[in-house]
Each structure stands twice: as structure tokens, then as C-alpha cells.
Symmetry: C2
Subunit: 735 residues, 2 copies
């Protein structure tokens, strides 16, 4: 009875999801195509033969090639970041110039509603282009892309997330969103861009462009690709924040499970090159070629070292700020959360998505305009305001409207002016209204179908809120900003380093750390971080760092999926095709056993073979009968598998004739002969540790005779999580 | 035949080394007692029962307790660092004051040889105390301790390395060495101190003091202990350099193989608390309580931000400096290397060691004195020289001897004055002579039996060499210093962050990175880093990050030790005692099999039991016969194992009568029922990955019937390394 129940739940739950089913589209399609990545090498005979043929020099060349690729990744990521930055700068410059001219004209004439309309239309137009590209061409390019990269590094393959098309749309989208004045940043998309770049460069070809450069073929497998994607993400952080060490830590904190020193150095190298490239090209753009001292794109400006002194009595203040920042954020998240759910559920039609984005852009312009219009907060014009579009509006000559520095500006500049403008620049009411308005705009914006980051809006809200707090020391401002951001993204180590590197001053390190730790601890008590919410919303089988603490009573026997579809070492083609074509139970890994008898007695494990490998074998018709009849046929090589990677054709596209169905296929050479196995009594934490440390996709469970009794997959492990009352079993979406 | 050969080599090679053999002493004893640590939990029935009994709340309490321990570790490490710092400051202050008075007196009278003698005697006296303590009481406290901590985190247990006695001697020794004017730093010893502190605090007892606080009993196993020792090492770095993030990275770069986010946060917390504690107490000591902005002990001082600008054309310069720093260092190492070998081999008698240390101290004083005496490099006295013991000597009034600022000073101060004194403070000849002299002194000092760090001497030589280079920008100096240090310790990521945090200026980050990368790449081409040389010299079975690249042709079958001594599930006590007492093959882990037949047919694996567990079982006489006869006897609990951890008694101390030898012992409850196993065909890289990622000590090799055919230990893996012509088999020392 128990066995039958198991069977039912198994076929319902399914294994990792299969190949693309062309019937679905958009989000649904993405959800259905979610697969696992295989970070454990399939060490089959072909692979071992190749490795054994390779000389010591060969390995050294490979290593050099890895460094070259990392350098390339860094270079290209830096270049893209530079491009985004300059494009945003230019477009926003044109926009603000036009609006400013218009406002100045109509301030005298009286008819500022025309200016408002101009501003709203310009914003909407920019956002429209971005939203159309995202909604119609590549929906996966929406948002910051960080949750997707987190998933990728964790081992969940979200289709199309690292494609060239995604990159193009992402870059275009983020330029439009930021230039369109939405409450968004460009940092998250840059990280995503770096990752895509890495996935592309390291493979030495582009499937989108149908171009194969025939280089770096050795790296065409999940393990190597993940390493490069880590480097790309780090290079992205490095370019976005001018924080190379922070980038490395970001990659490690979010992605890597197995810390490898050599890999870390390569990642570090990519980050360095990326910052360097960005600085170099920006220095040329700014007309000071070769001056490399400026950090990345987010430059919080130089903090005056005289104001950095802090005292013991300020320590509790930092902790309180961290907690408050988080308390603030909790409300924030409840709002965002409901919004995100709404968006994910109801607005699916691309046209409506574009229109919503345009509406938000127009509303942002209107709110900003109203804020500026109704504020009487005039400040004397300083010398250094030249490039920040100061608006005189109704102020006296030689003064400017201080609200405009916050609203009539790109978000990065707003953050900087909040950090650096002398005390008294803003009055509390102005700031209060700003904080509130920007807060709601940011919440609304987050769920839109545009490419957008969340770092800068969070920092901006935090900084505004810090100013509002009435404390005008810049260190307090900075820690407030950090608290807000920390409450949202919940990274401690990498964010501390990023903030230190972005401010260029290490003295702030200690308060920032304190605030981030507090925000994290308080925050985790209430609700998960934004990225985790996002990941959970999409019911991704994401593996956390440890097994749930109270899961020792669970053993592999309870967790595993059973019975397992196994293949014989020499298997009939017909059976393989049938199993692969079966759409109700789409498995991706199949234990190979010595003898499967027809009764339910399980066979002895002798290997593991993947769906993708079987598909390549079927495509090349590697049948026993053919091998003996046609000796001239060349032997299948590792190259054939690499050529098909990573977009293996679906089984439906492979034609197998009735005759061929009767042939036999010998899997010995292609299966992984030494898959990791565990006995049935192994506890869940032990299974989990093995899975996480080695980046496994399938773990075979055997009895004490080495017979296959079950298979543990990522989904089986991701089901268990800690709820309020201890261990709970998650019901991952069935879709 | 092959089998016999194997047998011979096995018994010769041995497994991990056994318990203390009291016949040997000093270095030899240490070498013989080297064991592996078991970073894989033994999930036996007792453990699982305990875990399953624990509620969700229980796990939360454990987690809180871990945080508390990390806080304590940080606090105590900071306190120790503070103590060392103040003690060195005071003692060096007295010494220099006395010598200065004397010199001033005799400069006029003429008779400076008396001053020289005073200086030399004072130095020798300080060093004598330190050297006596180290040589006679605890030889393991010699040197910086970083190689030992690296080994510990890697999984090699070097006896007495984390004991309270070691800590006391280390602290005393380093105070004496630094105050005694040797060319050493106090940073390495601080890291070691942090690690010892962590090992002590986390166990809630001190075996040296025979005091058990009955707390933290849950953490009495290798896995948990390692985590805390990582935190302690990080706290040490954090205190030494004022670099909390650098500390975390140091621990990760050197130690952790499995990156765990929660653990990282705890390590980070310990680092933070440590810096904070240090700053807090130092601020009180300096009479400015509560001012926390000053970083750690090494404070390179504030670098003027105006001089940090660097340009594109300086980039190649940084790279060249990195390479040169390394070239310089290569010579350096050849010297140190030969010296170290000499020391390790020939000077074993503690008296001679003490005398050598005193000799070096006297020579250091003499050389310093000669340098100061013969230099005519007078510089005008500034205002801020008050606390740096300026020597007027033969200079005019209002001037001071610039050589004295370098030699008549603690090494930290010398580094700072080299970094910050205005251009022209030193003339090139002075500097050249200084660099050379200090270099040879540092080389000689390194092999001494004193507690001493290598960071500061390296930085000092680098900085002097940078000044010598004729380029007087402080950034170049800094990168020179970094190049020298990087060439020696070969850390890139953590050292970059440490340098950034210590200088308090992130703008230097990029050149420092470049220089460190270059130094590492060039350096690795010639020779290994200092710590690795040290580790290799002691033939420690240290596991590197990856298996050697060309080792795919090796399989578990070739690597494993075979035949293996196995036990039955229910085994005769006599046999267990005999196996454990056998001194020719000291094994530490024994597979438990279902049936061992008398013929050589291996049995089916059903568990793994450790020597330490068997010893506890024997001590408590957990025999099947007794259990049935005396039901009142309490059941053996996990607590009994924890109480014996980590100093399990040797088998010789356990008395087993002839009657008892005939009893049986049921191992079922105590063995780990789910040890990791691999088939014989598994390739070496795969075995290595499993070993490294999971921190294993024993890996059972089975055939396809699940019968035990071999056992892979740390030593089996550490034997293979890459030589000039590809893979080589190391012959690890037998002793």
C-alpha cells in the first residue's frame, strides 16, 4: 500500500522538469522548463580517456585559457557597464535639459502644466520602449536579475536566463527605465549582464547568433560554466559599485558552495579587470584619460574624514538604526510582496504590462513635479551644482529648489546629494514627503515588467530617512542607507565590503557591519529578504545552506523518489525512447543497473546516465547492431556532447524507426560509472551536505546489496523547510 | 604478488599516526603524534537519537550559543591582543628610554661602547626569557603559528597546538621577542592566540587547568571545533590588523573548504567583536575612552588622499614591482629555506636554541647600533617625534639621526615612519644598508625558537626597498611593501583586504591587488610560499584545493590502503585490544563489516568506527555479556564520548583482563552506519573532491557487492603532487 502511495505521489510530483513544451509561453513556460544544473562531472569513459590523454602542459594551457576567459569577461562586463552609464547619462541629460528649459520658460509665462505633460510624456516614452522590449521580446529580462543568477549559481536552470538576447534586452531595458525616471537603479541588471557575458564568452559561441568560434570547447559543461558565471556576476558587482572585493564576496555569498582558492582568484581577476576597464573608458569619456582613481559607477563621493569619528555611545544608535531600518522595511515588504503576487498572477498580457509601466512612469513624473511645485524649500546655489540640473522655479535668483535636487535627477545623483549636501539643505517636511512618495513609487515600480535594480532605490529611501531622522552626520546617513538596503537584500559580508569600497573609506566599516547584522537578524525574524521572496514566489527548488535543523529523523528512504526508472547496461532503444517520451514523469537522470529483472526486484547499480546524454546517443544512432555492421563509422566523442550543450534537442525531434526500436544501445562507455550513492539509512542532513557540497543533481540511494532503491533529486530536498512549528513539507508548484 | 607488495608498503607507510609515545620528545614527538581531524560527523545511533530528541527550540538555542561563543572568542582575542600590545609598548618604552639616556650620557663623555653593551644585554635578556619559555616549556609555540593553524583547519591535528599552555607561552614569548628588538612582528602569534582561545572557549573546559565548566558540551567534536577555530583565527587577524573583513577572508582562504553562509556570519561577528574590544581598551589606555575610530594594532597611519592619485602609465610599474618584489623574495627564500632546514635538523637541544636566540638579539642590537653610529644622516626634528625615541647622537641640536628612527624603534613604528616621513628623510645609502642588514637579520631570526611573526618584517623590508627604489610616493611604498609580503605569504584576496583595511583607504585597492597577483604568479613559478614550505618541511599530509591535474588515470584502487583491518558488528574484545595495541600499524578508523570470514574474503560494509570510540567503549567495558547480566548499569551516552574528547587515553592505559578478552562487544550502536563509500573505479580527482568538500578522514572503498576492499586516508591522497615532470609520488616521512 505504502508503495502505491509513493508511486502516485512520485508521478504527480515528477522529477526535474523536462524540455521545452512549445505550447506554453511567457512565465508559464519558464516555470515549466526549470531544470537542474549538473555541477558534478559525469566522469564517463570518454571523459576519462580525454583527461588521461592530456599532458601536464595541456592542463596548464587550460588553466591559462581560464584566466584569459576571466579577463575577457571582466573586460566586456566593464565595457557594458560603461555603455549603460554613458547612455543613461546622455539620455537623462537630454531629458532634464528639455524639461528644464520648458519649466524655465513657463515659470515666467505661467502654464507649468505643459511642462508637466512634457515631462510625463518623455518619461513614458522612454519607459515604453524599455517595457515593450521586455514584455514582447524577452520577459526574463524583467527585474534586477539577481534572483535568477542566485538560482543559476545554486543549480537551478531557468531557461534563457543567460542568453545573448536576454543581455541585449536587459541593457536596452535598463537604459530606458533609468532614463525614464523610474525609481530604479542600474546595478542589479549590470550583475545579470556580467553573468550572461560570462556564460557566452566561456562557451566560445553564441547559439542566438548561430556562430561557433570553435574555441573553449572544453568548457562546455555545467561545472565550468557555473564557475565562469560566478566570475561574471562578480565582475558585474565590481563594475556597478567599483567594488572588486565586494564582487568576489557577492559571488561566494550567493553562489558558491564549494570554496576553491584557484577559482576565487580567477573571480577576483575578472572583478579587477572589470573595474579597471570601466574606469579607463569613463576617464576617457570624461576627458581625463588614464586617471584611474575614481571608483565604480556608484560613487558616493568623498566622505570628509573629519566627520567620520564615532564614539562608543553611538554604537547602540547604530544597532537601533539597523533594527528600525528593518522595521521600516517589514512594512515595505508586505506591500511589495502583495504587489509582486498580484503582478505575477494577474497582469500577464504584454500590452497591459507595457501600459502599466508607462502609467507608473507618468505618475512618477507627476508626483515629482507636484513635490517640486509645492515645495518652497529654496537654497542658495553653490558652485558645484552645475551638472545636477538645478531648478530655480519660484526661488529667488541665485537660489534653487532643493526638492528638485532629489526628484529632478537620476537616483544615483540623488543619493549623492543626500549624502553630501551640507546640513540644512533640506527641511524635514520636504524630506518626509519625499521619503514617503518615493517609497510608494519604488514599491509600485518593483513589480513592473521593466529591467530594474533595487539597490539604488533602497539606498535612496534609507538616506532620505536618515536625513529625516534629524541627525545630520554623514556617517549616520550612510548607516541608515545601509540598514535599508541590508533589510532588503539581506547580505552582510559582501554588502559591507561593497559599501566600504563604494564610499572609499574603511573607517565606516564597523558601523556598517553592525547595522547590517542587526538589520539581518531583525529582518529574518519577520520575513525573508527580497530575493528569497522572489525565489519562493516562483517556487524554485532552491537549496539553502544547511538542511533544516530538526530533520535528523528523516532518512534517505523517506526523502527519495521511488521506484526509479532504471536502464540496463545494454538497453533496447525502444524502451529508452518510450521512457524519454513519457511526458507524465519527466526524469533527467537514470541509474544504469546490471540486470533489471521483469519482476520488481531492483538491479545492482553500475552507473548513471543523463537524459541529455541519451538524446545525443539516439541522435547519432549509437546502436550495438550498427557498430558491428559499420566499422567505418567514427566513434562518438566527447565533442559531440559538447556541441549539443546546452540546448539538447527534445526527444520528439529525434526520429527513431520501428526497426531501430529493436536495436540495442550499450551505455557502458557513456554513463558515469561511479555515481555517488548513499545507503537508505542516511539521514537527511547527511544527504543534504553531500548534495550541496558537491553540487549534485541526482543521488542514487542503494540498499546493502548495492541495488538501486531510489533517487534523490534537488526537488526532494527543497521540499523540506522550517516553518513556525518546526519542519514543514513544502508543496512545490505542480504547474 | 602485488598484494604482498601492497601489504608491505601499507604496514610501512602506516595510517594516521597513533597516540603519544612518551619516549620521544620535542619536535620528534610532535611529528609522531600528527593525526587527522574528523570533520565528518559520526552519525551513529546515539547521535541520531540525541538529534531527534532535540526540539526546534533546542536547535535555536544551540545556534544562539554558537553566536555567544563567537562573541566570547572575539572579546577574549581582542583582550589578548590589547595585552600584548600594551606590554610590548611598555617594555620597549623602558628599554629605549634606558638606552637613550645612556647614549645621550655617553655621547658627550665618549664611551658609546657601554651603551652598545647595555642595549645588547637588554635585548638578550628579553629574548632569553622568551626563548627559555618556548624551548623548555612548549616548543610548539615557536614561530608565527600560522602554518600550524593552516594545518589544523586543513584537518591535520598537530598535538598541543590549541592548548592553553601554548597560548600562555606564545603570548609571553612574543612580548619578549618584540620587546627584545628582534626583527619580528606580533601579528602571526596573535592569529595563533585567537585560534587557541577559540578551541578553549568553545569546549567549555580546560584540560590543562583540569576545569570543566559543563557548558558547551554539544560542541565537543572536531567539526564544531574547527568552525570555532576558524572564527578565532579571523578574530586574531582582525585584532592584529584592524581588518575584520580581511580576517574572515583569511580564515576562508586558508581554512574552510565548504563555504557556509551561517558560519561565515559567525566568523564575521567574532572578527567585529575582536576589533571593537581591542579599540575600546586601547582607547581607554590612551586616555581617550570611547573613541573607536582608530583601527587595529597595525595602523599604517592616515595616508594623505591627495597623493593617492595614480595613472594608467603606473599600472605596468605596479606589475613590475610585484614581479621584482617576488624576485627579491626568491633569494630571500632560498636563504630562509636552508636556514630552516638547518634549524630543524641540527639545533635540537633547548639550551643551544636559547643561546642562539640570545646571540641573534645581541647581534641585532650591535648591527643596529653600528648603523646608527656610522650614519651621518641628520634630519630636523619635527613636532610629532615625541614618542618615537629620536636620537640626537652626533647631530646638531634640533636635529635627529634618521637611521635611528628605523632601527631604534619597534618594527611597527619603523614601517609607519617609512611610509609617512616626508621625501628626503632618508638618504639612499642609509636605506640601502638598512634594507640589507634588516633582511639578513630577518632571515636569521626566522628559524629561531621564539614566538615571532613574519608580516611586519616583510612589510618593513618591502617599504625600505620601496624607498630605496627612489620613488617617494607613498602609494609606491605601500605597493612595494605589499609585494614583499605577498611574495612571502602568497595570499591574494585576504591580504588585499587586510592591506586596504589597515591603510584605511580603499583607493589603494587596485594597485595592491595587481601587485599581489603578480607577486603570487611570479612567485609560484619559482618556489612555494613561506607557510607552504614550512608545512612541507614537516611533511604534513596537507591536502591542497584540487587533486593534481594529471591524476585522472589514478583510481581509488591504486590510491587506497589495502588490506584493511575490519571489525565485525559484534566483535571479540580480545581482537579489538590486539588491533588497537599493534604499534606497527596504527590505524584510526575501522570499517565494520557484516561477516568477516577467516579466509581473505572481505565482508560487506555496514559501518565505520573510530579508534577513539573503541577506546571509550573499552574503558566503560561495554560488553554484551555485562549488559545482560547487569541491567542496572547505565547505558553509554554521547556524553561519555564528549567527556573523553579530545584527549582519549592510549590503549595501554586501559586494563582488560583475560576474562574480559573473551567477551564480545556490540558496535552497532556506536559505529557510523552510513559512512561515505566509493567504488574502486572512482578516479582520484573524484575521491579528492569528496574528501576535501566533506572534510573526511577515512573513505571506504567497496566493490560492487558492497564489500570493503580498501580505505583511503588523508595520507594516501597527500602523497601525490605535481612535480616538474608531472605527477610525482611523495614519500611522506616515516617517523
Amino acid at each position: 500500500m505504502a508503495n502505491i502511495a509513493k508511486k502516485v505521489s512520485w508521478s504527480g510530483r515528477g522529477d526535474d522538469r523536462g524540455e521545452r513544451t512549445p505550447l506554453l509561453n511567457g512565465d508559464e513556460e519558464v516555470k515549466n522548463n526549470r531544470q537542474s544544473l549538473d555541477y558534478d562531472n559525469s566522469e564517463n569513459q570518454l571523459f576519462l580517456e580525454e583527461e588521461r590523454r592530456m599532458s601536464h602542459m595541456g592542463f596548464r594551457c587550460l588553466e591559462i585559457r581560464r584566466w584569459v576567459i576571466c579577463g575577457l569577461i571582466g573586460f566586456l562586463t566593464g565595457l557594458i557597464a560603461c555603455m549603460i552609464d554613458i547612455a543613461v547619462e546622455k539620455l537623462a541629460g537630454y531629458k532634464y535639459f528639455a524639461v528644464k528649459q520648458n519649466i524655465e520658460k513657463y515659470t515666467e509665462l505661467g502654464g507649468l502644466s505643459i511642462s508637466l505633460i512634457l515631462w510625463a510624456v518623455l518619461n513614458s516614452a522612454f519607459v515604453m520602449f524599455g517595457a515593450i522590449a521586455v514584455a514582447f521580446v524577452e520577459p526574463i529580462a524583467a527585474g534586477s536579475g539577481i534572483p535568477q543568477i542566485k538560482c543559476f549559481l545554486n543549480g537551478v536552470k531557468i531557461p534563457r536566463v543567460v542568453r545573448l538576447k536576454t543581455l541585449v534586452i536587459k541593457v536596452f531595458g535598463v537604459i530606458c527605465s533609468v532614463a525614464g525616471g523610474l525609481a530604479v537603479g542600474k546595478e542589479g541588471p549590470m550583475i545579470h549582464s556580467g553573468a550572461v557575458m560570462a556564460a557566452g564568452v566561456s562557451q566560445g559561441r553564441s547559439t542566438s547568433l548561430k556562430k561557433d568560434f570553435k574555441i573553449f570547447e572544453y568548457f562546455r559543461r555545467d561545472t565550468e560554466k557555473r564557475d565562469f558565471v560566478s566570475a561574471g556576476a562578480a565582475a558585474g558587482v565590481s563594475a556597478a559599485f567599483g567594488a572588486p572585493v565586494g564582487g568576489v564576496l557577492f559571488s561566494l555569498e550567493e553562489g558558491a558552495s564549494f570554496w576553491n582558492q584557484l577559482l576565487t582568484w580567477r573571480i577576483f581577476f575578472a572583478s579587477m579587470v572589470s573595474t579597471f576597464t570601466l574606469n579607463f573608458f569613463l576617464s576617457i569619456y570624461h576627458g581625463k584619460p588614464g586617471e584611474l582613481s575614481s571608483p565604480g559607477l556608484i560613487n558616493f563621493g568623498r566622505f570628509d574624514s573629519d566627520s567620520v569619528q564615532y564614539n562608543l555611545y553611538e554604537i547602540p544608535l547604530f544597532i537601533i538604526m539597523g533594527a528600525l531600518g528593518e522595521g521600516n522595511v517589514t512594512l515595505h515588504w508586505l506591500l511589495r510582496f502583495s504587489h509582486a503576487v498580484l503582478c505575477l498572477r494577474y497582469i500577464h498580457r504584454p500590452c497591459l504590462q507595457v501600459m502599466e509601466a508607462m502609467l507608473v512612469a507618468a505618475v512618477t513624473a507627476t508626483v515629482s513635479f507636484a513635490m517640486i511645485y509645492f515645495s518652497n524649500d529654496c537654497q542658495p546655489l553653490g558652485q558645484d551644482k552645475a551638472e545636477e540640473y538645478p531648478l530655480q522655479l519660484f526661488c529667488a535668483d541665485g537660489e534653487y529648489n532643493s526638492m528638485a535636487t532629489a526628484f529632478f535627477n537620476t537616483p544615483e545623483r540623488s543619493v549623492r546629494s543626500l549624502f553630501h549636501n551640507p546640513p540644512g539643505t533640506y527641511n524635514p517636511v520636504t524630506l518626509g514627503v519625499f521619503t514617503l512618495a518615493y517609497f510608494f513609487l519604488a514599491v509600485w515600480t518593483y513589480g513592473l515588467t521593466v529591467s530594474a535594480g533595487v539597490f539604488i532605490p533602497s539606498l535612496l529611501i534609507g538616506a532620505a530617512w536618515g536625513r529625516l531622522f534629524g541627525i545630520l552626520l554623514c556617517i549616520v546617513l550612510l548607516t541608515c542607507a545601509a540598514a535599508q538596503l541590508g533589510g532588503i537584500v539581506r547580505m552582510t559580508l559582501s554588502l559591507t565590503v561593497i559599501m566600504i569600497e563604494a564610499t572609499g573609506n574603511v573607517t565606516y566599516g564597523f558601523p556598517i557591519m553592525l547595522v547590517l547584522m542587526t538589520a539581518k537578524i531583525v529582518g529574518d525574524y519577520f520575513i525573508e529578504g527580497l530575493y528569497d521572496i522572489h525565489i519562493k514566489l516562483q517556487s524554485v527548488p532552491f537549496l539553502h545552506w544547511d538542511a533544516p535543523p530538526t530533520s535528523h529523523w528523516l532518512t534517505a528512504r523517506e526523502v527519495m523518489s521511488s521506484p526509479v526508472t532504471c536502464f540496463n547496461r545494454v538497453e533496447k532503444v525502444g524502451r529508452i525512447v518510450d521512457v524519454l517520451s513519457n511526458t507524465s514523469t519527466i526524469h533527467n537522470g537514470f541509474p544504469v543497473v546490471a540486470h533489471t529483472s521483469e519482476n520488481d526486484e531492483p538491479g545492482k547499480i553500475c552507473g548513471l546516465i543523463l537524459r541529455s546524454q541519451l538524446i545525443v546517443l539516439l541522435k547519432h544512432k549509437v546502436f550495438v547492431e550498427r557498430a558491428s555492421s559499420r566499422l567505418s563509422q567514427r566513434k562518438l566523442q566527447l565533442k559531440d556532447f559538447r556541441d549539443a550543450y546546452p540546448r539538447f534537442p527534445p526527444i520528439q525531434s529525434i526520429h527513431v524507426s520501428q526497426d531501430e526500436r529493436e536495436c540495442m544501445m550499450d551505455l557502458t562507455e557513456f554513463m558515469n560509472p561511479t555515481p555517488y550513492t548513499v545507503p537508505q539509512e542516511t539521514s537527511l542532513p547527511r544527504v543534504f551536505k553531500l548534495f550541496r557540497a558537491l553540487g549534485l543533481r541526482h543521488l542514487v540511494v542503494v540498499d546493502n546489496e548495492n541495488r538501486v532503491v531510489g533517487l534523490v533529486t534537488r526537488k526532494d530536498l527543497a521540499r523540506y523547510h522550517v516553518g513556525k512549528d518546526g519542519l514543514e513539507e513544502l508543496h512545490l508548484a505542480q504547474t
